[in-house]
Subunit: 356 residues, 2 copies
Amino acid sequence: MPNLAMTKGKRLHQDTADLKSLALALGLSQSTISRALRAHPGIPEATRRRVIAAAEAAGYRPNARARGLATGRTETIGLVFPLQRLQLPETNFVDVLAGISTAVTARNYNLLLSPFEDDEASVLRKLASSKSVDGVIITRPLVRDPRIALLNALRLPFVVHGRTEAQEPFSFVDTDNDNAFERLTDLLLDYGHRRIVVINGLAQFRYVAARAAAFERAFAARGLAPPPGAIEFVSMTEATGYETAMRRLGDPAPPTAFLCGSVFQARGVYRALAQHGLVVGRDISVACHDDGVRGCSAMDLSPPLTATATSIRGAGEEIALILIDLIEGKAAAPVQKILPFELVLRNSVGLAKPGA
Amino acid sequence: MPNLAMTKGKRLHQDTADLKSLALALGLSQSTISRALRAHPGIPEATRRRVIAAAEAAGYRPNARARGLATGRTETIGLVFPLQRLQLPETNFVDVLAGISTAVTARNYNLLLSPFEDDEASVLRKLASSKSVDGVIITRPLVRDPRIALLNALRLPFVVHGRTEAQEPFSFVDTDNDNAFERLTDLLLDYGHRRIVVINGLAQFRYVAARAAAFERAFAARGLAPPPGAIEFVSMTEATGYETAMRRLGDPAPPTAFLCGSVFQARGVYRALAQHGLVVGRDISVACHDDGVRGCSAMDLSPPLTATATSIRGAGEEIALILIDLIEGKAAAPVQKILPFELVLRNSVGLAKPGA
DNA sequence: GTGTATTGTGCAAGCGCTTGCATGATAAGG
DNA sequence: CCTTATCATGCAAGCGCTTGCACAATACAC
């Protein structure tokens, strides 16, 4: 009887490394091997060790498909996203992805990337009905997002990166946008600014709406109303930040402060201000929210930019961990986590000019 | 007998959407359904239509695991990469990933992301023996890369992004680094430059070695020898470009031209030159290779940078397409493709100062 | 009308694993 | 020494699909 355990070393004999041959080689049944490998109770320590040693030597790894078929699990999670988000230069998506990758690796899961061009729903349906993943992550919820209902109907575990309005419960991880923007607005108000322009994101996203509301709340809390047209709903890019700032600086009563949704936009604002010969922190103030995107830190602008800081990568990790917990039954249905932020004061905010 | 084909519409009844129930509902055997769905010959058009309609109505999609187990295929390819490449800000990896994603989506395959921390070999082994993918993509080959032999031994189809020395045949897609660098060097030589500093990548990678050799070849072709210490083997970042340029500008006989491996490095060089009050294209020349990384184009520097241009995203697409062809038997074993480049002349290269 | 193709469909055996239940062996209890 | 609990292991039935082969029905030839 060939003892696979003895043939370790240089040779790779994956070809025959299935349960059956292992069983044959060890003189045990497939069930025993399987249980030993999974550390099921009832298998004596000695046997287990023997099995594990043999498996290792043979380079045995259970066939994922067969295992999946038998268990109904794939130990794979899916990340569903618009293909475009990998193509645009200015995005925090890669950071989220990095976080997810880290968590998935740590938990020994696989990550299936499911980009879509325009029909996200059908990708989700396919993932669900073909049972290629145990759960999915979806991102950037709209203000009212139909995916929640769909995924619930499909009974596919999922975690959303971001919140949304929905009848039904769902799990999400989100930045504390509301409080971050209220805090930033408060700060600017404290410094005497009233003519603040918010360079926000596109209106269809929930987080954008939340930020707008937070901005208004901060004003309202002091019995003030934000100036009309204070909030600009534009994309999250340097170019847009630049254009918007340039345009608003031409206002009859130009803003004394800009509040940006991302460091990308803030960069553009800085460029516009420089072009106008305005010194940030002295002539005009800028603050923003900083997701901690790689290579685009509020700290690296000059002057360094006052911002609410969070780690979008950390969010990615959190999301994946929660999804896996959900899948493994280690957590119950709606896990809702709002990540804290930290306000980091730097030199980009100063007192509003008295005359302004 | 319930006719699933009639119950189309709002209801989602994925729960029972397996072959067996479909067969039952249609009064056909599972084999027939399976064959009809896969357009096997011998199934009359009429039956096929009926089956497809019913399947669609029922939201049926074959269970990927079961199908995989039966066919030995998963229609999934793996991308194996150091987790780190998703964490660093300056990388062309995301662009490659975008290209791969595009191709994979177009060919209706899935993409499994397999990051590793340090032990790539064991990830590859696992992928192979657990049969979770039909093939893998590996990147950035070393000068002599053990992965080739490993993957061949594992009999896992694979395509390498980049070339390497190897006894055995293997498939790859690579930029034409050799000729691009020879061409760039030629250009600088034409302009009279001799004291050129090459800011290359880290020496362990094959493409770095190829570029160094190309540089020397261009000199040799004119019976010249490059100045000693001409080639700097450093990382591909702005910071490194800056530091290296600063250092070399302090040479007793400072370079009259810099040749950079990436736009990232070139940016750093520009910064260093500006700091020295040198005008690019007049006082000193710079050229580089431009992979077309999102958000980091040679065109956007000022002055715009003369460069050999390729599309790293296109390379990603190509790689995935070739791997899929290989898997599907549409291509035979070693497919080796070297992507062309285009030399784009801009304003960053001028004549070497006579006295220099 | 018989013989042979051709056509449409089904049977059943896997694919490689997990797992409920059964079984034989050993240990413990009286 | 027999009974019962405990332990270590195996049997066999799936999981949901694909596919080689067989078969019945129909079409065609003569």
